[in-house]
Amino acid sequence: MNISSYVVPLLLALTAIYALTKKVDVYDALTSGAREGISVLVRIFPALAALLSAVYMLRASGAMELLTAWLAPAMELLGVPSETTALMLIRPISGSGALAVGSDLMATHGADSYIGRVSAVMLGSTETTFYTIAVYFGAAGIRRTRYTVPAALAADLAGFVFAAMAVRIFF
């Protein structure tokens, strides 16, 4: 029996009760939100198909191992598993690319393995940095972004290092 098994069922039950007391149509909110979920899936599928093909090719060609072996000393210094190198490189550039690489890592090493867990925590604790910067500053008409890029990349790097550390602490 695990305490964290309570989190999801209780969250569902308590949110529903709270929403009912606020006179919100719980069922309608759930289903229209789910429809939004479908459109998310439809939107990311084309990107996933293109990117997973590339990731599979990269792995089959031996390029992934080359890259991993090449950057292994740096990864060891950071305390992150070297298998996640490609994930860390693509994370700031492409959200669906990171999802493709991360899901491949989880599928090959197992979702509940150390590498699988670190990949999941990395995905969950970082964002698509360059996309976000481009969208925000583009919309706000900012041309000189000053130190935003290095600061945001520092946050990403810290996220990766602490993801590996957190998995070692909690599991």
Binding site: F45, G141, A155, L157
Partner: protein, 192 residues
């Protein structure tokens, strides 16, 4: 355009390495296999994503999201003191924050942009320190329930897809802190 380069480089690099390693058969098969894996992944995590999108919609309709954001108002006022003095910017910031906490990226971005545009008045194309901080906040993930990742984990056969929550929260908090600290340090040397 960036993705055009990324994809082309990935594929060309695979072809070169595949040729050098004599693995062309495997590379050819892998391209098809990867596209098929995308279908499996989307089907495998589709149910979880729909369920959680529904729950998040429910949380934002019943006002739980706003309550959550209100907890962070003192923090916002300290990080973005000038922006939070303007009530309309503050409203957009707060809504942006609550959408981010719920992981509603599609809702968060337009709200964050609204705040950023108001904060950019009179900046003449040069990012102010507060604007830099707002963007750094948005490039760091502060999502409470990483539902997409949990969906992928479920699709890959995880026994408890959400058991990574404490690790994700710890890594997120430390990552945001590192980003804001880096911004604070660079602010002194990187003058407008």
């Amino acid at each position: 355009m960036a993705m055009a380069w990324v994809w082309t480089i990935l594929v060309c690099f695979s072809v070169l390495c595949g040729a050098a390693n004599g693995q062309m058969d495997a590379v050819a098969g892998a391209a098809m296999e990867g596209a098929g894996a995308a279908v499996e992944l989307c089907l495998g995590m589709g149910g979880a994503i729909c369920l959680w999108s529904g729950v998040m919609e429910l949380m934002s309709r019943c006002g739980l999201a706003e309550k959550l954001a209100a907890l962070f108002h003192p923090l916002l006022r300290r990080l973005l003191p000038r922006a939070s003095r303007d009530s309309e910017t503050m409203a957009a910031l707060s809504a942006n924050l609550s959408a981010n906490l719920l992981g509603l990226g599609n809702a968060a971005t337009p709200l964050g942009i609204r705040a950023a545009r108001r904060m950019a008045y009179g900046c003449e194309g040069i990012a102010s320190d507060e604007l830099c901080r707002l963007v750094v906040l948005n490039t760091a993930s502060i999502q409470l329930l990483p539902t997409t990742v949990a969906g992928v984990r479920a699709a890959c056969g995880s026994a408890a897809p959400f058991d990574i929550l404490p690790a994700v929260w710890l890594a997120s908090v430390l990552s945001v802190t590192a980003g804001l600290l880096a911004a604070r340090l660079l602010q002194a040397v990187w003058r407008a």
